[in-house]
Symmetry: C3
Subunit: 208 residues, 3 copies
Amino acid sequence: MQIQYLFELLGTCFFAISGALVANNKSAPDWFGVTFIGFITAIGGGSLRDILLGSYPIGWVKDVHFIYAILAGTLLASIFYTTLHKLRKTLFLFDTLGIALFTIVGTEKALGLGAGPVTAAIMGMFSAVMGGVLRDILTNEIPIIFHKEIYATACLTGAALYLLLFYFNIDRNLNFWLSGALIAGIRILAVRYNLSLPKFRKDTADTI
Amino acid sequence: MQIQYLFELLGTCFFAISGALVANNKSAPDWFGVTFIGFITAIGGGSLRDILLGSYPIGWVKDVHFIYAILAGTLLASIFYTTLHKLRKTLFLFDTLGIALFTIVGTEKALGLGAGPVTAAIMGMFSAVMGGVLRDILTNEIPIIFHKEIYATACLTGAALYLLLFYFNIDRNLNFWLSGALIAGIRILAVRYNLSLPKFRKDTADTI
Amino acid sequence: MQIQYLFELLGTCFFAISGALVANNKSAPDWFGVTFIGFITAIGGGSLRDILLGSYPIGWVKDVHFIYAILAGTLLASIFYTTLHKLRKTLFLFDTLGIALFTIVGTEKALGLGAGPVTAAIMGMFSAVMGGVLRDILTNEIPIIFHKEIYATACLTGAALYLLLFYFNIDRNLNFWLSGALIAGIRILAVRYNLSLPKFRKDTADTI
């Protein structure tokens, strides 16, 4: 469990870094604005999950280390700004590890609170992607879940695998790594090979 | 009560259909994006009401049938896409029945939790319109409540009638139908005769 | 305490006025739209704070006087529209008093619920600024916290002073006025002398 707590802090830090870098692409905001966006990116998904589940106290409200992790992420984003922008692949990897981790943690938390499998999978996906959605709303971007490459669907798939193995009583740690790896794997393949889900309707533009 | 539960599932399905159709008008998103928007449209208002009232567990978190209703709505929206776009009047009717139903259900729920009449009316209106507001925020549209024709005000009026009849001890079922009909009636007349509330200030553009 | 309750109602009314005036600058919405924006501006920050802290019932849900204060604010905004637009400095002062008051009230509330100092300061700042952030999201403006002059940082600074004096057991009322004055003072100086925080990275535009 101790190692998972470390993972969560690390995931929070990664999300704050990615939030800070995205925020800064918009009209050069000041330190507060960037930190604020990093903060919302990092805690948005988990907070929404806990609010929807009625699970109090919310993680970062109770445990100030999550806030320190966010401040550290913002600071790192500032110091290594140029490097991080060059290492876009590294950043992408951080985000991928972050969503894989948060999906499984969120799914487990919902299950532990008595949620059914469908709700648990949704809560896992929300944990992973809703911070980014809130970040995109605040910065007036098109929300990341509407981007071309598979993103939230990877989280849902990983959550589904976790739930399947969970009901087959597979060892929890093995399940954690297998399902997390599936999410990261799908996401990496999706970006590498430009994979996307089918459009809802191809003839949209014409019918309007 | 059983029939009301069916109504709620149906209302959820209608909102998901309308959400999916609106979402798809924006730059042809994929299946996940459209389903996600349908989901937020359908559960946004009720979830916000329950969060504000501190009423847990939230409906769709507890009862997976609401999620099935949303998936069914998205699927129907895809299959009957062309037809639904032609039958805009049918769609409008679905939305109208949806907001009428959700307003009364939301008002009743708030009353049952001890809310006063003003708060109960606001909660009823929130149940009906906030899903659409969230949908519009996510898709960067001007929120529906700022559109020209009377929308949320119809919900508030119906909620007010419900509360009035409630305090006069009118039979609950009769009250349900009367107040719901008032909401639907106002909304239909508003669209048919292009009725709108007075502007806040007519001279806005000039004073700025 | 009685006088603080009056202050809170007054602060709510001020925020509703500022929300109504901002809303009306956007494409002349109707009375409902303007009242709705005033409402969200006034109760958004406190509601989010209470939801994050799991502190129920939420103020305005329990106490209808807050809703009356908002309606009064919207009405005042309509009646004195031209005057208020001319007296931009008066309006600015109202907003400044509002954020100073809400920051301290929010910080105190979080402390009273057992939050640590960092969380309490964040909750105080959220109480003050998140209503305006929600207003800006709804009206598609750039959120106020990203504006040039110091805004939310003034709230955080005042909350920090409050917490410092709180842990030194300074008289609560004295602390209330001192910390509130610091927020208002910073904000006034920031606007008067055009003070802003340093940019996150000066070279943003070039690196992208």
